[in-house]
Symmetry: C2
Subunit: 271 residues, 2 copies
């Protein structure tokens, strides 16, 4: 498996991207994490913590657990550490490390947590196998991923679907897989985990849920698609007029008669 250097992260490392990740984390916390929690005293590895958007939730929901959060990017780690410190949580230690070359002995951790990471890796099964090595027998791995092919909306729009497919294509070119959510069950199974259970977490947005219209459809999903505009145009994946129409059509789904659907997948496996 190749190392996945920071510069290939499809969403980039801008300030706007950081804000998007935080908006996303806050809006989706309950949906994704209402059932995330680890007992006091156990050792938990968060693999790929990024800027700590999920780390704050993880630490807050498992105040007695000893969490080790790793990431490839030093800059992201520093931001994550500052964010966790500001949140008042004191149960997280940070370490720059590569999922593909984990600096831990076999069976170091009671549990492993991986959120929005596998989608960026060229060989997710290999990453899961390496993570499994540092998990104790009987310990669990929890994996959360989105799936951009799960996005559909009203009014429907060919241009919007094509703009989304540009993001999928660019992520694929970088060795990732933006349609990975639907694959968690086979991936965890192939990596040797047992008792694998996958539960979809669907975000359904209509005008009766204004916080999701703003926090998810606009600030999270559409902002994420907009983030690859220049690259999509430069690579000739789509024409400028069609791109702009697609983005307008995504915003159109935020009107009072619009709806938007997207699904995250949470998978748990046992070693």
């Amino acid at each position: 498996m190749k190392t996945n250097p920071p510069h290939t992260y499809v969403h980039g490392y801008s300030r706007r991207e950081a804000r998007r990740l935080l908006d996303q984390a806050q809006t989706l916390t309950d949906l994704l994490h209402h059932d995330t929690g680890y007992p006091a005293g156990c050792r938990v590895l968060e693999a790929g913590c990024g800027i700590g958007a999920q780390t704050v939730t993880l630490a807050g929901k498992s105040p007695g657990a000893l969490i080790t959060s790793i990431d490839l990017s030093e800059g992201s780690l520093a931001e994550a550490e500052a964010r966790v410190k500001a949140s008042g949580n004191r149960n997280v230690s940070f370490l720059q490390a590569d999922i593909c070359a984990l600096p831990f002995a076999d069976g170091t951790f009671d549990h492993i947590f991986v959120c929005f990471v596998l989608e960026h890796l060229p060989d997710p099964v290999s990453a899961l196998v390496r993570l499994r090595r540092v998990l104790k027998p009987g310990g669990t791995i929890t994996v959360i991923e989105g799936d951009h092919g799960s996005a559909y909306f009203s009014p429907d729009s060919d241009a919007a679907r094509k703009a989304i497919s540009c993001l999928v294509s660019l992520q694929k070119e970088k060795g990732g897989n933006a349609l990975i959510g639907r694959e968690l069950y086979p991936l965890l199974s192939e990596a040797g985990f047992r008792d694998v259970t996958v539960s979809p977490r669907m975000v359904y947005v209509d005008a009766s849920r204004p916080e999701l219209v703003e926090g998810f459809t606009k600030q999270t999903f559409t902002a994420m698609v907009e983030g690859v505009r220049d690259e999509a145009l430069k690579r000739g994946l789509i024409g400028e007029a069609e791109w702009d129409q697609g983005i307008r059509d995504l915003y159109r789904t935020c009107e009072p008669d619009g709806t938007f659907c997207y699904t995250f997948f949470k998978g748990i496996g046992v070693k």
Copy 2:
């Protein structure tokens, strides 16, 4: 709004179709109806009961309610009546009637239930307006619909997606809308209902859920797509080789490493 005569029902009236509807009803009962129930003594209209696949559940879950089930097709009504009688439920009366010309006075019913019907109507808002007339003020309407654009799976397959799109196209030609699930909120709102709430009911299938692999992916969804093979080929919507590949690919998602996703939508509005 035009009448929607029985011969335009996209799935036809064959024995296999009847079996498919029953398999579907049994597999999905909990997902769709765990929260369907009406108090004793109230009058409930089931609009478009078909062969009674949902009627048996409706009657069983609301044993004290007085249910009136209507349908356009005499043949379907006879079958529905026999099925409900066989189930031991005695709280349903059947009547041949058109949703677009309801033979009831204003405010006749406390609640209305409509399942897998609006998708076949050329003007669902008009139908909802007509149903609203026969509802008492303060009464509720419950609408359940699927959305074939919500189907995605692993392994992904262009041919399978194209086969599904044939069903969507054929239903559209007949005046229906196979992508209606995502539109329930705006449709109910436009028809004048208030306090509209829509909840998606996602069916997620992997090898750990063999009853859904068999009962949903194979017997319900893929069987439904297969049902329009001759018409899709006759209309030149797809080539025979590609169609057959698409169907094979849908069955391929039933292998141990496959997954399948589909979402129903349940909407409730108040008069």
